[in-house]
Subunit: 460 residues, 2 copies
Amino acid sequence: MTAINTAAAFRDCLARNDFAAIEAALAHRHPADLAKMTETLDSREIIQLLMLTNDRRSAKIFGYFEPAMQVAVADVLSRKELARLVTAMSHDERADLFNRLTEEQQQMLLPGMAHAEREDIRRLASYPEGTAGSIMTSDYASLTPGLTVRAAIERLRGEAPDKETIYEAYVVDEARRLIGVVSLRDLLLARNEVLVAKIMRKTVIFAQVQDGRDEVVQKISDYDLLALPIVNGDNALVGIVTVDDAMDAAEARQGRRVAQFGGNATIGGDPDLDLRNSSLLQMFKVRAFWLVMLTVFGVVTSTFVAAQEEILSQVIVLAAFIAPIVDMGGNTGSQSATLVIRAMAIGDVKLRWRDIWFVIRREIPVVLTLGVVVALLEVILAYFSKGVGGEVLLVVGLSMAVCTVLGGVIGALLPFAARRIGTDPATLSSPLITSVMDLLGVFTYFGLAYLFLGHLLVSQ
Amino acid sequence: MTAINTAAAFRDCLARNDFAAIEAALAHRHPADLAKMTETLDSREIIQLLMLTNDRRSAKIFGYFEPAMQVAVADVLSRKELARLVTAMSHDERADLFNRLTEEQQQMLLPGMAHAEREDIRRLASYPEGTAGSIMTSDYASLTPGLTVRAAIERLRGEAPDKETIYEAYVVDEARRLIGVVSLRDLLLARNEVLVAKIMRKTVIFAQVQDGRDEVVQKISDYDLLALPIVNGDNALVGIVTVDDAMDAAEARQGRRVAQFGGNATIGGDPDLDLRNSSLLQMFKVRAFWLVMLTVFGVVTSTFVAAQEEILSQVIVLAAFIAPIVDMGGNTGSQSATLVIRAMAIGDVKLRWRDIWFVIRREIPVVLTLGVVVALLEVILAYFSKGVGGEVLLVVGLSMAVCTVLGGVIGALLPFAARRIGTDPATLSSPLITSVMDLLGVFTYFGLAYLFLGHLLVSQ
């Protein structure tokens, strides 16, 4: 029997009616791999494949499809087929699918479903994006406190095919309030006649349905949980977030800091800019906000430089070094700031005086040395490429050194300042750091220029 | 009985010899919370607390201490006490602790341990940082294919207290080669007399002991695994990486891209710069590399500007706008680049023509509009703050617009170029983008200046 590894192989088998090979592949390969293999097939071919395996397996594979592919397939299925597929899906995945369907498709699907399923989908799909409710699933395993360990294990065994996980079971009272949690491991290690109430953990780590997704991910990570129970306002259990969904949520956060630091940070609770999903208008609004702010800030710098007309006319070549000098402040500042931002992200450094002192204490020798190195380099290059005179070289070298040190120290302190005013340090974007260092840079540069070259003006 | 919530409360109870309260807290609170609560106590107080609970629990709480705290406590314990603690710890955590001890402490500890434990620690501690071996644990559950389901469950029940997890059991042959995997759920759902060989999954997702840590995390994430088995060169099972350790590894990766993008990227296989752990020399070397490169690159820009002496002497005020104009290219480029870097990080965009086209197609209308907006703004501000004349305003406005558009498009393409030459897109740091746009910016600016203001030179 041919081992199927690609979409082409699937297509081939379909053409030859070699259903045995397809069934074997569908049964033995990991659903994630099957989904990836079939993503270049069209919807009708996919449906043919899915019909060759049971409902549950079909739904599992479907769950790994890219969202766009799920919607495309859903569009081609009949109401009955779609209802069957959706009923077999895990509860969080079908709620996500529901939210991606058009209103028309939603209206078509719901009447085809059983009442309990319909209500469950409606409920899960209604939670706002970014909350615990939006990533939780409702197919959790629950137990009552009066069950014996033997009965509890039997119950979990029976429910296993329909639950997201049976490794963590949640103990609830008559009002479905969460009163304890017990793991399958704990049940296996206990004696059969003991009551669940006796071995369950009463101090349960949980989250509220409206808590932020990042908070949920953090709890699962901090406490090494397999799943986190979610309760509503009445403390009744409404769902769980499993560790794999937490990992996905954590992954979606990745690169977020880079995008923020690059100057795309959104304000307030607005969703992050997303290259695929944000509208062109959103992209424009957020980016324009920052660029406009930076332009206005930059006017201060350019007005200052314009006012240095006197000394610039005397020593035109000073204009050539404005960019390299202010750049160096921004470059060093960018290096320092991102090192601190990273240290904060992994908890190595927190907003406290001893950490600020630690950072500065290490930063100063490094940027002092860096300042001397780049200043010497710039002076040497300036001499050989432009043949500038001694006093200008002095001004350029000193400015370079001062800007490097200043940039490094300020760059290192900015993330702390951001934390202090309650904003994510990564929002202090690289463009912002550059603009601040531009201003400080030109002050330093022209200040030193007047100091050492000011006699040129007097002598007129 | 007082509920203990803080280090002070612990200290209090110790002073009053209220051991019952402490024992209760140690038994019922989550080890992660206990570790956090006690981190401000000194080593001796911590040892007093740990002695009030059993070895396993003690080791669990100890495992959640910050590394520095673990080493401090280890230093105060006698060899016998330390050996006891280490024997009870999970295998990956004790190997990590071992690697943090001084050679002296290591030499003191090892003879106090049983042979099997000593060899296990030595083995686990020997894997290079950043490999699967360095984050795996060796206390996995294994089964032989000839066991019945009933026998397998009994075995897992017996081993449960000593294994990291019993929810995934690995089926090995006599040479300990990995031949299958079976979950506890599968065992519970199967009939007692069936053989493990019959129900195990034969296509096992695994990794090699020398594979990179990032690869391991990716597999666990892609396949929603609870644990990933790790094999050595002979395909023998040597350990597993559990999902909680994968989440920790993923978290440690966070902010790495920001640090790289800020201009701290290390070359080749060198470890990332780390504010806490890198030596001052390492910090200097990496940062100096980039700053020197940028300085040298910047000489091209400054030499070009110096050569524009003629037109600068005629229209001094041109110097004032050099910074804002070249900045805008860098700012927009930074925004674009980081949006693309993020999209690549979460898999939304890949190195293929249709994605490049997608990005450009969306980028162009946005940066065109941005270009017009910032150009108009700069021109208005320039007029009111400096009273510059019409032709200069035209040059400034056009340069601003062109630089914005150019910066945006180039910024968006750079991550693709990075991928093409096989380097992480985030290595294309913000300072680099700024420097490139500086050069393009001055070319554009002075090019346009000659176009519209060139007549001022001729008319001399």
